[in-house]
Symmetry: C2
Subunit: 141 residues, 2 copies
């Protein structure tokens, strides 16, 4: 854990956003979760910490956390509404199809591939997404 959840609040503050009970509840819920959470799942969990929370505030807070690159959207075959703490630097995703756990891994081995594709296709490549799907150690044993 490089970034404590307090840092997310600081980052919000440093960017001119206010620290509120609602935002604390959302941050505490999303930060450190090993599973990608949908707005509605965040709402259900965060409301246990702050009863008066509104779903709209969850959407708005997630939007800001994403804007600050503290969280990122996770794309999956069944849906693309879930978010997870962002990896540091450029990272790729590893998802367990059984339990939904998400891990990051590095892998800049793609440079060669990228260059080769650029040469073959004439594309000027700017970005890439790589995700691996499978079963985590727990789920396949």
């Amino acid at each position: 854990m490089i970034t404590p959840s307090e840092t997310w609040l600081e980052q919000l503050h440093d960017n001119g956003y206010r620290i509120t009970a609602a935002r604390r509840a959302v941050v505490d819920t999303v930060f450190g979760s090993t599973h990608a959470l949908t707005p509605s799942e965040v709402f259900d969990t965060a409301r246990k910490k702050y009863r008066a929370l509104g779903l709209v505030t969850v959407y708005r807070t997630l939007e800001k956390l994403e804007e600050l690159h503290l969280i990122q959207r996770v794309h999956q075959p069944l849906g693309c509404q879930a978010f997870i703490s962002a990896g540091h630097g450029h990272q790729h995703l590893l998802l367990c199809q059984q339990c939904g756990q998400v891990e990051f891994f590095e892998g800049d081995d793609l440079d060669a591939l990228t260059k080769s594709i650029a040469r073959k296709t004439g594309y000027q490549i700017q970005e890439h997404w790589l995700q691996l799907f499978g079963l985590c150690a727990n789920c396949h044993s």
Copy 2:
């Protein structure tokens, strides 16, 4: 073009689905498009070929084409509702961020990476997604 659009109709037929004017219009629209199309875009275009078409039928036809692996959903930062003809065999996507053109490329160079990640993480990896984003030859020149 390995698969003519007629083949899509045959495939529908072989799987017990009927060939209708509505489905012809949708198939003719999606087949061979170089851009991923949303259901609503398919509707607008296909309706020029078959006026009475309903949006619901577009959704239902896309669902069947996806089920038969003739088309696939395209995930992008701005949305994941668009579809494009599926590549043959396992292919990866290359997307132009300017004009939206989609191309496929092969690249099983990932085997080494995949095995290495499996070893490091304990995951049993079953599938992967790789997408490159950039500017196509036309758009960056």
